[in-house]
């Protein structure tokens, strides 16, 4: 019973981070109909940046914020410079470009930062909380993780629902041509979408790294999990990404705990196949026709 309880708690913590990363994939997909396979590598680079700052005596909070800002700028740069030319062509071209970003960034990180494991500090304590006399698998840092993601999601939701900037971004995502005819600077909105996604990705990367060793490929599995989570939720749905993230988090925790941690990715693949074969639109697919 204890094992189940512990696995559930760590599943929720991980799930929340997967949800954040899935959100950034959905953000990009809604705006430009592209899956950015390089997103994990982008997040990894900004996490290394934070690490370097921390190792140079910059306070954790400042390094954290710097990494988020770097993620924002990197996302904007990638969209504007690298992805923009292939946004309108055949799908396969965009897939290949994002894979190129993936490979290049991981290799670059290995060259600059080395392939060895590097310890990344956590913001808060990593000792399990005491509840009713026993230690549970929930740590103060996990509470920070969950809180940070919830705050970020709330900000994103507020931005989209209640601001005119959010309205313009949604319009650009749903119907580029009509948005242009309404005077929306669609190009800028797309770049902003990728920038926000970059920020979310960096957030996820930093939170995952807390207290664990990082290395250039450490985000690979996260990309897979987040991708499956996003597909599970329906690539168009923010709520779906959150639910999907939690499902993936819990699944990976249970598989890791009861079967073996090396099979977690295959478990995610199994979920992906089930979803795609049974309900390809995902759990929360919107049935609204996209063109009127």
């Amino acid at each position: 019973m204890q094992q189940f309880f512990d696995a559930t708690l760590s599943g929720i913590t991980n799930g929340v981070v997967f949800a954040a990363f899935a959100l950034c994939l959905v953000l990009i997909f809604r705006a430009t109909r592209i899956i950015n396979f390089g997103q994990g590598a982008q997040a990894m680079v900004t996490t290394y940046l934070a690490l370097k700052l921390i190792q140079n005596d910059v306070p954790y909070a400042l390094a954290f914020v710097a990494a988020l800002a770097a993620g924002f700028l990197l996302g904007a740069f990638v969209e504007r410079v690298i992805v923009r030319p292939v946004e309108t062509g055949p799908e396969i071209n965009a897939v290949i470009v994002t894979l190129g970003i993936f490979i290049a960034l991981v290799a670059l990180a290995a060259i600059i930062f080395g392939n060895d494991l590097a310890a990344f500090p956590a913001a808060f304590s990593l000792a399990g909380l005491e509840v009713g006399g026993s230690t549970i698998a929930l740590r103060p840092n996990d509470l920070f993780t969950i809180g940070a993601v919830l705050v970020a999601m709330a900000v994103l939701l507020g931005l989209f629902r209640f601001t005119s900037l959010g309205l313009r971004m949604r319009a650009s995502a749903f119907n580029q041509e009509v948005a242009k005819l309404l005077g929306v600077k669609v190009g800028q909105m797309l770049t902003l979408g990728w920038a926000l996604a970059g920020l979310f990705g960096s957030l996820a990367g930093l939170l995952i790294a807390a207290g664990t060793p990082i290395f250039p490929s450490y985000m690979d599995a996260v990309v897979i999990f987040a991708f499956v989570a996003a597909v599970l939720g329906g690539l168009d749905s923010f709520l779906g990404a959150v639910v999907g993230g939690l499902v993936l988090g819990l699944t990976s925790a249970y598989v890791s705990s009861y079967v073996g941690s090396e099979l977690v990715t295959l478990a995610a693949l199994a979920i992906l196949m089930v979803v795609l074969l049974l309900k390809p639109g995902g759990l929360f697919s919107s049935s609204v026709a996209r063109r009127v």
């Binding site: 396979f37 055949p90 295959l266 992906l272």
Partner: protein
């Protein structure tokens, strides 16, 4: 993956030979041309191997295993339009099958083991293909990526059979006595296993290319292209989309299985670290550079994979990088190349050259070249 490839990354047409009276006739004459080409290439390979040292021979053996893998993938992705990021995992299947058999059944002839590895991988490919047949675009890419990241984990789960993290040490196959005698009679030298593998690998690679080039020109190739270019039209023409896609997957998986079987004995080890995502993505780079759907391009791409890495490591050392750092120069170049090629020349090297050739020819014929 159903994609409109009109402007994009694939090469649909090869320069047409002089019109033949019937397609069968043309096929036979081109087939004959290819057969002669393959035999000439093998002859050239023999000469080359006699001239070079063992290190170069090993490199040629590596080229020999990359070629079927890349060629198979270019058929799947370039001709049939399905993006697979998991062919590294399929190569792993072939390599591990070969390794396990060589260790546990050392009396079986190596070629039989290769055949078994091909069949096993083809079966796995069929399984993946059935699932993949209904997936398009990023979904297919993501699913195969998950396969690439996740499959090596099985080696750890089944540690006893598959060797876990450190992997399987694979014994080198012995040179068959008749080959040794033949070699000794012609050259007066002893044939080492490494050089033998280069000959064997070269022969198998050329055979694969021959088979694939015929398939690509046959009605299967036309069927695959039709499914890639316009699903609805293909279905209306009576093509079973699922069957066509699965077949393409099986063919490319068989090629990957062969590649894995050769890889296993050339590198003498099968371990999870040898089949990372980078391998799958390198295959993708190779087909993109050559030009999706071009078998000639597959050869060029494979050559890049084999020769760029040591080249870049040497350059890296000159620049003062450590070995580990220099080893990452090659993937860095791959990534940059992927991006640049897609932005600048989406048809790849061979595709762009071919396109320019065709356009100039059309211009000369006064038809007015059209983009």
């Amino acid at each position: 993956m159903s994609v409109a490839m009109n402007k994009g990354a694939s090469d649909t047409r090869t320069p047409s030979a002089a019109p033949a009276p019937a397609s069968g006739g043309r096929l036979r004459s081109t087939g004959l041309k290819h057969l002669l080409l393959m035999l000439a290439a093998f002859f050239g390979l023999v000469l080359l191997l006699l001239a070079v040292d063992e290190f170069r021979a090993t490199q040629l053996a590596s080229l020999a295993y990359y070629i079927p893998a890349v060629a198979g993938l270019t058929v799947l992705t370039g001709i049939n339009g399905q993006v697979s990021l998991g062919h590294g995992a399929l190569m792993a299947v072939g390599a591990y099958t070969t390794g396990v058999l060589l260790i546990r059944q050392p009396d079986l002839p190596y070629l039989l083991i290769v055949a078994i590895a091909i069949i096993v991988t083809a079966l796995v490919g069929a399984l993946v293909g059935v699932a993949a047949a209904r997936l398009h675009g990023p979904y297919l890419a993501g699913a195969t990526l998950a396969l690439a990241v996740g499959l090596p984990g099985l080696a750890i789960t089944f540690e006893d059979l598959l060797g876990g993290e450190p992997g399987l040490r694979i014994p080198s196959p012995t040179v068959p006595p008749w080959v040794q005698d033949l070699y000794g009679n012609i050259t007066g030298d002893r044939l080492t296993p490494r050089v033998y593998l280069a000959y064997l690998g070269g022969a198998l690679a050329l055979t694969t290319l021959f088979i694939l080039s015929n398939l690509v020109r046959s009605r299967y190739g036309r069927m695959w292209r039709a499914v890639r270019d316009d699903e609805v039209a293909a279905e209306l023409a009576g093509i079973d989309l699922g069957r066509a896609r699965v077949l393409a997957f099986v063919v490319s998986a068989a090629c990957a299985g062969l590649a894995g079987a050769l890889l296993a004995v050339v590198s003498r080890i099968a371990a999870p670290t040898g089949f990372t995502v980078v391998l799958s993505l390198s295959l993708l780079v190779a087909i993109v550079i050559g030009g999706l759907g071009s078998l000639v391009g597959a050869i060029i791409g494979s050559a890049m994979l084999v020769y760029l890495a040591p080249f870049s490591i040497a350059r890296g050392r000159d620049l003062g990088l450590s070995d580990v750092e220099a080893a990452n120069l090659a993937p860095l170049i791959y990534g940059v190349v992927l991006i640049v090629v897609m932005l600048v020349a989406p048809r790849g090297l061979v595709g762009t050259a071919r396109f320019a050739f065709l356009a100039r020819r059309a211009g000369r014929q006064g038809a007015g070249a059209r983009t």
